[in-house]
């Protein structure tokens, strides 16, 4: 009885790509990523020492893993556009795309981790691995396009040692630790609610 209910529920739960829930997930993901970026990088809060570098990268990764690759990409891309514009008026489309890839790649899990196993131990491990892959590809894209188009730097060595390696390593460590943590917290919070991704 219970299993048949689950199967039919699973089929009915398939949503179109741009359902209202996805649109809102993109908007909220964008706002959250931009807010985290600004909060951790820009604001000096009295009585605290928030010195971790870019813990916010876990946000697009989390949104990608839970809500799918398109939501992840948009959250990373637009969130970075907004936080860059707010913090210093910059617009670097290639870093925005790189941040979008941080969200898109964990979202690819939807193609090989099915349904509830997304939130199992194995799923969380896959999530951590994808976070590392995403950091390498995303920051690689941003750093090397900086070199190709000559934004601020002019040698390949700079792209590798000054941009790619520091960014990819910090993002990979942050993402691999914080993303599975967020996913498992979300899974237990959403358990028992009728609607969830």
């Amino acid at each position: 009885m219970r299993s048949s209910y689950r199967v039919s529920g699973g089929v009915a739960a398939r949503k179109p790509l741009f359902s209202t829930t996805s649109i809102v997930a993109m908007g909220i993901g964008t706002a959250l990523y931009a807010a985290f970026n600004v909060f951790f990088n820009l604001l000096q809060l009295p009585g605290t020492q928030l010195v971790a570098l870019r813990p916010s990268v876990a946000i697009p990764m989390f949104f990608g893993y839970v809500f799918g690759p398109v939501v992840g990409f948009v959250s990373g891309f637009l969130g970075n556009v907004i936080s860059d514009a707010i913090s210093w008026g910059g617009f670097w489309w290639n870093w925005d795309v790189g941040n979008g890839l941080l969200g898109l790649i964990p979202g690819l899990a939807v193609y090989f981790v099915k349904g509830e196993s997304k939130y199992s131990k194995q799923g969380l491990l896959i999530c951590a691995v994808l976070a590392v892959v995403a950091s390498i590809i995303g920051m690689g894209f941003a750093a090397f396009t900086d070199y190709i188009f000559g934004y601020g730097i002019s040698t390949l060595e700079e792209a590798i040692y000054a941009l790619f390696l520091p960014a990819a390593v910090t993002d990979a460590v942050n993402g691999a630790i914080l993303t599975p943590m967020l996913v498992s917290a979300y899974a237990s919070a959403a358990r028992g609610r009728a609607r969830r991704a």
Partner: protein, 259 residues
């Protein structure tokens, strides 16, 4: 707090009164042209155009000071980095005097490009009210749903900063102290009491917001209009025409490479 992070300065300058669509077109043309410009003589006119755009906005220095500090730091850091990598580490000159002008070009072309993009983007951000981006892009042909994602992002962004601050204070009242010491991984783990509640409550609220929007008819086709209807004056149209001409010229120069 929220008002501190929104970088919009009211004003009545010529740039403030331009249609946001005209401004967006101009800024995107400048950024794309700067991307395609491959030598200093091609970057300089763009830099001057950006500078003129920035100066026409008559932004008060006290408001833009903090932004310029960040830009100056980035420029200084990248100049030194470029110099270090181009001239010292990886491409040591055999005859120092003969290649010094080439080094100069390789060190400064990227910096000038960066400054061009920064000037244009700063002017756009400081002279356009945040609630006009989505209507402007929507009325430029972007689909309603895509424009609405931008609207939602800008709508909730200040709210989540406030939420982070509230959560931090609430956790600190319970004895939480974010620490600076320890190793890299311990520092990241130390952020969990702040990052997890904000993210989980925000992602659970998605369903409520989506329900509220659907109840108000979001997602139905062909019935959406924008409350803020934008109208282009002759001046706005001229700005759009000049921007597109500029972009076309740089695309042509990039393809033909006469210089």
């Amino acid at each position: 707090m929220a008002s501190r992070v929104i970088r919009y300065v009211e004003g009545s300058s010529i740039v403030h009164t331009l249609d946001p669509r005209a401004k967006l077109t101009l800024v995107f043309s400048l950024i794309l042209s700067a991307t395609l410009a491959y030598s200093i003589p091609l970057v300089l006119p763009l830099l001057l155009a950006s500078l003129a755009f920035y100066l026409a906005a008559k932004l008060p220095w006290s408001k833009v000071k903090s932004t310029w500090k960040i830009v100056a730091t980035i420029i200084l850091f990248l100049s030194l980095l470029n110099y270090l990598f181009v001239a010292v580490l990886f491409h040591p000159p055999e005859a120092p005097n003969a290649v010094s002008s080439e080094i100069f070009v390789r060190v400064f072309t990227p910096i000038l490009k960066l400054l061009t993009v920064a000037l244009a983007a700063i002017t756009l951000v400081y002279t356009t009210p945040p609630n006009l981006y989505a209507p402007a892009l929507g009325q430029m042909g972007l689909s309603y749903k895509a424009a609405y994602v931008i609207q939602l992002g800008l709508r909730y962004f200040p709210e989540y900063i406030e939420e982070m601050r509230r959560t931090l204070e609430a956790q600190m009242a319970r004895g939480y102290r974010p620490r600076g010491g320890g190793n890299f991984i311990a520092r990241i783990l130390n952020l969990a009491p702040l990052v997890v509640p904000v993210t989980v409550s925000a992602s659970l609220s998605i369903y409520d917001v989506a329900d509220a929007m659907e109840l108000r008819g979001f997602g139905e086709s062909g019935c959406h209009t924008w409350l803020r209807k934008l109208k282009m004056s002759a001046r706005d149209k001229a700005v759009v025409a000049v921007s597109l001409a500029l972009l076309a010229a740089y695309v042509a120069l990039y393809v033909a490479r006469p210089l």
